[in-house]
């Protein structure tokens, strides 16, 4: 596939609202895109982050189901879990998302899948958090491994 870089990820972080919005198109039909999201073996292959293993601890991707997965990097483990509120084939996934390192934080994620002409598709994700601070902290941490690095940089900055 030569067109891997043509689909830009659009991220909207509105000021003053606890929302992160993501839009992305894919050179694949919507049913295949949806399968990559709901099949645990496929999901584990791309959710990342890069170079870090994803272990699926539990996975019931259906309305009323739940999930938990762990990213491992050396001795460090980062686990995430949530409930699947609604899974509607090829159309919509509504789920909660919590990073266990910040157990009081929870986001509601609404993902809409859409078929596009020429065998292409689009996903639109809206993540709604509890507070703007929590949202900002999530962006700051990248929800992933960058959190420590971010804090260290901030420490250096604040120490000056």
């Amino acid at each position: 596939m030569s067109a891997l870089t043509s689909n830009q990820t659009e991220i909207i972080v509105p000021e003053g609202l606890p929302i992160i919005e993501i839009k992305r198109e894919f050179d694949a039909p919507v049913d295949r895109l949806f399968r990559a999201w709901v099949d645990q073996d496929l999901f584990a292959q791309w959710i990342g982050p890069r170079g870090i293993g994803t272990r699926i601890d539990s996975w019931d991707c259906s309305t009323g189901g739940r999930y938990r997965y762990t990213n491992t990097e050396g001795d460090e483990e980062y686990a995430f879990y949530g409930s699947f509120h609604e899974v509607r084939e090829n159309e919509r996934i509504v789920q909660t998302f919590t990073y266990e390192g910040f157990p009081d934080g929870v986001a509601l994620e609404i993902m809409t899948f859409e078929s596009l002409p020429d065998g292409r598709s689009r996903v639109h994700s809206v993540s709604v958090g509890e507070s703007v601070e929590g949202r900002d902290a999530m962006v700051a941490s990248g929800m992933e491994t960058g959190v420590v690095e971010g804090y260290q940089k901030l420490d250096e900055l604040l120490a000056r």
Partner: protein, 119 residues
């Protein structure tokens, strides 16, 4: 460590403080100048400034007599960098998904035997 970060986010959670920060982005200002548009006491504005100062978002020069408030813009560069990194990580994740989707396509095309046909 987390306390420092929380302090920045908490400082910016208040709309009056966000407004003060926005005004300081264009130019330094004294406490009196900052207080002018608001229907609050100088003391209240000073309190807001103290929160911003403790978060490292603003500083006040010690020597000048006006003691103007100065925005430490680097803190916001950091936020911008975080958003950029968040974007980059999302983009990397979706490129992995692109590659996976392409592999799934190959897998489907590799199963013509079920149809009894060879491509």
């Amino acid at each position: 460590m987390a306390d420092q970060l929380s302090r920045v986010f908490q400082a910016l959670a208040d709309p009056t403080r966000r407004d003060m920060v926005a005004r300081l982005a264009s130019t330094d200002a004294t406490v009196g100048e900052l207080a002018a548009p608001y229907d609050v006491s100088l003391q209240a504005v000073s309190k807001h400034l103290k929160v911003l100062e403790e978060a490292g978002l603003v500083s006040r020069s010690r020597d000048a007599q006006r003691r103007p408030v100065h925005l430490e813009a680097e803190v916001f560069d950091l936020m911008t960098k975080w958003i950029e990194r968040y974007q980059r990580e999302a983009e990397e994740r979706f490129q992995r998904l692109d590659a996976l989707l392409a592999r799934m396509d190959d897998d489907e095309n590799d199963r013509p035997d079920e149809e009894g046909a060879v491509s």
